[in-house]
């Protein structure tokens, strides 16, 4: 597991520009240190995680295995029952029904999932509501 990150690596993990990371580093919002005898910045893992949490940046990129797993649709339904999920790089059948994919975000709050989808901006994605309409609810659109 990597314990130190360059500003470029941190930018990639946070999905922001390197300049943004450098600005946050220089202002003290992102803690780190300079390599002795040089101007190179280094960011410890825990500082980066703290920074990501403070700024509501999903930590799945830095936590190997967390929310990176490819799940089948039945697994997604089982794990995220009654939630909205954002699926990255979905594998689908011909009719675009989901076969499997990586859950990038999940929440009972649909608008949170939409918001995260805009932030993460995956190239190929799917949005799915796992919740079923209750039997005693009618929908008239």
């Amino acid at each position: 597991m990597k314990d130190l990150f360059t500003t470029g690596e941190a930018a990639e993990i946070c999905r922001v520009s390197q300049q943004t990371i450098i600005r946050c580093f220089d202002s003290g919002r992102l803690e780190g240190f300079r390599v002795p005898g040089s101007k190179l910045r280094r960011i410890p893992r825990q500082s980066l995680i703290q920074f990501m949490k403070e700024n509501n940046i999903p930590i799945d990129n830095i936590e190997p295995g967390r929310m990176k797993e490819v799940l089948s649709l039945p697994e997604i339904k089982q794990r995220y029952d009654a939630e909205w999920v954002l699926i990255g790089d979905p594998e689908t059948n011909d009719d675009f029904s989901i076969k499997k994919g990586v859950v990038l975000w999940h929440s009972k709050d649909r608008d949170e999932v939409y918001r995260k989808a805009r932030e993460l901006h995956p190239n190929h994605s799917a949005i799915l509501c796992i919740a079923k309409l209750p039997d005693d609810v009618a929908v008239v659109l």
């Binding site: 649909r110 939409y114 901006h121 190239n123 949005i127 079923k132 659109l141």
Partner: protein
């Protein structure tokens, strides 16, 4: 193409692939033969890179609960049920989360083709 659905309950939900400026996403749209226009939730349009807020016109939308005005966007490509339409106009209007879908696939998507909804077998065919 055929899609199965539960004929006894719920909406008929059609997985639909929408193409944006640089991205694509698959959303779940309810088949709505009572709607003349297709519609997606506002945030889905933004996710795809469109800006409904900057649309110059607002289309009058008559719903079961009144009249509203919604901006149209032109989606690069819409694919569903084996049909693919380019530069397809869609209204942006957010349905309540309890609808469990990201919008509606209306009659405009199906005009000129044969759509069969078998509510006995639970199969929709296009």
């Amino acid at each position: 193409m055929n899609i199965k659905f539960d004929p006894k309950r719920g909406l008929i939900v059609i997985p639909t692939r929408l193409f944006g400026i640089h991205t694509d996403t698959i959303v779940q749209l309810a088949l709505d033969t009572g709607a003349t226009s297709s519609m997606i939730n506002w945030d889905v349009a933004v996710l795809l890179g469109y800006d409904p807020a900057s649309a110059k016109e607002r289309i009058q939308v008559t719903t079961g609960s009144g009249v509203e005005f919604a901006p149209p966007i032109v989606v690069k490509k819409v694919e569903a049920l084996g049909r693919s339409l380019e530069n397809f106009p869609i209204l942006c209007h957010t349905l309540p989360p309890s609808a469990t879908v990201d919008g509606l696939l209306g009659l405009d998507f199906f005009r000129g083709v044969r759509l069969v909804v078998d509510l006995q077998a639970g199969i929709i065919t296009l």
